[in-house]
Symmetry: C2
Subunit: 327 residues, 2 copies
């Protein structure tokens, strides 16, 4: 089985690679060939070295998608995107990469299939940014997509293309709308959502972290471990059961910042909590106010997608996966 | 005021032109210049001749959109599309015209605005084909768009672009999701929805018509007169009131074929009804089964969009507008 991962250098891509490296048959068969793509050359975990080819390329460059698809991969994970803030700041780059790049991939698959029958599975990383406020208390599976960012617009468009191309039999697509991933490993970053992870990750490492919003802010979370699980599950799921509505809001955990902090205290003690410094930021507060808070992601749950149900588990997953089980 | 109508040779375009020709100030100011575009050269009603320039061009051709936008029209009606059946049969043509053509128009407006501030009003003809079965009994304003045709997909994508470009201040856009237009003037055509009009228009003209489905088929209608009214209203509506959710399901009338026939009998007598010949067609029956039946189009109604509430009025509008008031 030849697996192509576009956006393999990103956090979710790396988590997914770890699963492929350490769990035989996790994608439903033996992975005999792996192609990893990102704008910087991605690296494979050691056990996958021998079967991996890594490429630095941009999907929106002329011919890039066709070059990847000419190898006729069986499973394609499309995780690559210009993130929300950058897509908002750079209109043309966001549309070029997130929309044109994705469409180039889909059209390359179609062109390959016109030469000789070809119908790979395509697993696309979408986002709850396809939704825009005002929201109902819980966003159901049939709520409309009225994004309030260009990034969300590009994801929503890609979802529509994915569903139509799948309906036409061009490929077997499934769109995975990710919750906010928490605890994000790595350094604090400037994403407006960064603090949700920072206030856990930094104290767990004995470092101070800044909380820019009130503790009653409610948001929608899943761990990096769950995110990798969503993609693995999507790779083997019977798509007949999914039907024609191919884009699914993933299950997650709706929690307040207060819930996060309480979980941190239970897992790591009051000392960790004392490392959180309150520093209200009106801009971040306003951005976060427009974000989805809670979902009723029933379809995905019925289809077997799983996420944490308690914040303690999200923190424990971080300690196990990133800190060698110790704090 | 310079008005550009793209798709001006179509039925809705002609109805809109009649309104502009015969109602001073219907678009909120004096129309001093009119540019009409279609793939065949459109014609203006007599009174508009002196201010009209007609062009035969395809919006998806290189440079076509820029050429139109270089003239900086104040109001742009974008009514042009490859229809549902053709977009389904010809994948590339549908995406090229309905998606790339629309995006070329939107991007040409953006490019013009980067030269010198420019923010026209853009009124886009969308369709209830953005929805796909299964449906709730009434489709509300927040129901999700999961089209089951490439045409519906292209319209749903254009809606997302329109909302994002409007949010960014590139233009002031509004998307008008049209019900099935009935009674369509002209000859019977092969559209699967044609019979809804045929069974009224033909008997009213003393001709036989074929009914391929059961009488309990429920569907969503507005007259050509209402359709023109939607676009006229959209041209002058205060978009602040619409907010960021710029695509609106238009009001309409939910009626069964039985309701249509009963209205025909009330307006034109039993003789007309006897001209309807039952000829069940399994293919058409199946296609129609996937179509929306009823809507709760509350937002558009609150914003002042109006349609018929009784089928008799739909038939009378046809008699007045197409048959000189006589049958």
């Amino acid at each position: 089985m030849h697996v192509l991962i576009i956006g393999a250098a990103g956090m979710v891509g790396r988590k997914l690679l770890d699963r492929i490296a350490h769990e035989d048959g996790v994608l439903g068969g033996e992975v005999t060939r792996l192609t990893l793509v990102d704008v910087v050359e991605p690296t494979a975990p050691g056990p996958l070295d021998a079967i991996t080819r890594s490429l630095a390329l941009d999907l929106s460059d002329a011919g890039a998608a066709a070059q990847l698809i000419a190898e006729r991969p069986d499973i394609i994970f499309h995780l690559a995107a210009i993130v929300s803030g950058e897509a908002e700041a750079d209109f043309e780059k966001g549309y070029r990469v997130n929309l044109d790049g994705t469409r180039a991939l889909f059209d390359a698959i179609r062109a390959e299939g016109l030469k000789e029958p070809y119908r790979p599975r395509v697993i696309f990383a979408s986002s709850v940014a396809v939704f825009g406020a005002p929201f109902p208390e819980k966003i159901g599976d049939e709520f409309f997509t009225t994004p309030l960012t260009s990034y969300g617009t590009q994801k929503a468009i890609a979802e529509l293309l994915l569903a139509d191309y799948s309906r036409r039999g061009i490929f077997d697509g499934i769109g995975i709308r990710l919750p906010t991933i928490c605890v994000r490993p790595g350094k604090p970053n400037k994403a407006a959502s960064g603090f949700f992870s920072n206030i856990l990750r930094e104290p767990l490492a004995g470092q101070e972290a800044v909380l820019p919003v009130e503790e009653d802010v409610l948001h929608w979370f899943a761990s990096p471990r769950s995110a990798a699980g969503f993609f693995v599950h999507a790779a083997t799921l019977d798509l007949e059961k999914v039907g024609l509505r191919r884009n699914l809001t993933m299950p997650g955990l709706s929690a307040t910042v207060r819930d996060e902090i309480a979980a941190l205290e239970r897992v790591a003690g009051a000392k960790a909590v004392r490392l959180i410094r309150r520093e209200p930021d009106e801009t971040i507060r306003r951005i976060v106010a427009g974000w989805p808070r809670d979902f009723d992601a029933r379809r995905a749950a019925e289809l077997g997608f799983k996420a944490e149900t308690r914040f303690d588990d999200i923190i424990r997953a971080h300690i196990e996966d990133e800190l060698g089980g110790k704090i």
